[in-house]
Symmetry: C2
Subunit: 347 residues, 2 copies
Amino acid sequence: MRRKTRRETIDPAEVYGGRSVLITGGLGFIGSSLAHRLVELGAVVDLVDAMVPNCGGNPFNIDRIRDRVGVHIADIDDREMTETMVRGRDFIFDLVGHVSHIDSLTDPQLDLRINCRCPLVLLEACRKHNPSAAVLFAGTRGQYGRTVKLPVTESHPLRPIDVNGVNKLASEMHHLLYHRLYGLRVCSLRLTNTFGPRHIMKHSRQGFLNWFIRLAMDDETLPVYGEGSQLRDFNYVDDVVEAMLLALAGEETSGRAFNLGGGRAVSLLDSARAVVAACGSGRIQHVPYPPEKQAIEVGDYWADHGLFTSVTGWQPVVPFEEGLRRTVAFYRDHREHYWGPGHDPAV
Amino acid sequence: MRRKTRRETIDPAEVYGGRSVLITGGLGFIGSSLAHRLVELGAVVDLVDAMVPNCGGNPFNIDRIRDRVGVHIADIDDREMTETMVRGRDFIFDLVGHVSHIDSLTDPQLDLRINCRCPLVLLEACRKHNPSAAVLFAGTRGQYGRTVKLPVTESHPLRPIDVNGVNKLASEMHHLLYHRLYGLRVCSLRLTNTFGPRHIMKHSRQGFLNWFIRLAMDDETLPVYGEGSQLRDFNYVDDVVEAMLLALAGEETSGRAFNLGGGRAVSLLDSARAVVAACGSGRIQHVPYPPEKQAIEVGDYWADHGLFTSVTGWQPVVPFEEGLRRTVAFYRDHREHYWGPGHDPAV
């Protein structure tokens, strides 16, 4: 007899239906995708987003659910506002941040504020005003730095090689401390390259894959650094959303950090080829590695998500190529809200 | 033939004489002690201190050298001021911070600002306006968290168990990144329990030893938690000052982190006994561990400083008991500037 996995025994509608949920960074890529799913599950959803330029917040991301969520344009750094916002919530998905590795070097203070200070304001607010809330922290593969062993498990050394990775690591440590010291229910998921609809498309600094999709859709040239043999691990956003729901559904994830992953490693070159195939346009050109990117290149990355699977039953279910297909279809329908003529450059 | 150590071959007066030195936290315990030594060596010394209450800044700390140093009451968080201050410096000792473990839990935002944000402002200022300066970062044993192997070497796991330790670890990582990415000359020394003259004496939250000295000098009772068998590693401040001078004297320390240590472990109970003996007054009482301190107790700590010794020749030369004797003598002469009647409580 097959062992029942968590996914089969936990019904997200039962966990989240009618419950109060706060999503920070709620107008961003993952936050807004999560919001759609939670609305579908019958949760009472509030979104807060500071709409920091170039971070991914986009009003169109919640176009379909605008009448069914509360929207608050505000900064988590505003302590009083945040204290008010956390009160009475059952679940808090803290998806502020996730700015780019390159940006974290050009403006390290902003990265520290968004990725370290804001989450600490939220944790303090929870400790003081809602210690029973469950809080999800979005970690990153960047916390590991250069990989020394593949696939990467949670016990891999944590030696980030850019400011963003350092700040994310510190923030995850703050979260786990708040669990240990104050009993807050927190869980960290260390995300790998997440892609899909609602991603920012106006610049390339939040991951190359969505940028490649834009270039290919515009029938332009996809620049592949070097031979493109570096391995990456991709997660389609819907799989990440399901992981986040499972992460806060039970107690056994509390005070722990888990890897997410797509279950397979894809080379940069192969990912570019798959994008061109999915779009039916665009072409690939090999170019030399830009020195500023070489310095923060982590080498191959491939996550072992076995620990999270063993605890929650989660599995990525959308194959890479299928995720690409859905992503391209979304942007074909809604391109004007993300780039090109008609796109509001302020978004 | 005995191998020559670094300390024998490097003359600090030759390295620092006539050179421009900036000390942040310059009116504090270690900063002001370092300032005295640098003035003696003929350096041109500027001190900057925000005089954040309860952090240790005390004008009397530089009473003897007031006419031979520049003093700037300012906050490193003020980016423009900091950019101005770093220009033209040969050496920068960044001794802002070092607030208490307990305080870091009651005001984690302040700890993050002082221990993480301010040093990052300084690093950015150096990168942009003085990339050839040598920068010292004061790390802490708190970066290791609960010790799993004694004595602790630099390869011990870094798993801090309080907010202060997390923030210090993140800041050290920022420093080492700035070396790797931009070639800044940075060195981190992970300090253990440093004690001596000029330490803040008005509260017990920056280490228990100086507090014990105050209590014993006032013929009061020294509370020893539990049996007092926990091991600690003490460094007299003059030894720490010499270590800092050596840390920036050469290139081979650049981009690296080193432990300091006193070379021997002393139990809390034995340290209390030594304080009572040095003062000729006071008494010891065993008391239960306060729960808020138990939660952030790291267990025994004893540093292996062999790596730093092998690179620089540094050795602690002031025995624990001799350090206590000098410390007590200092406070006997200057008590009114640190506590009790006549002490300005604003300091």
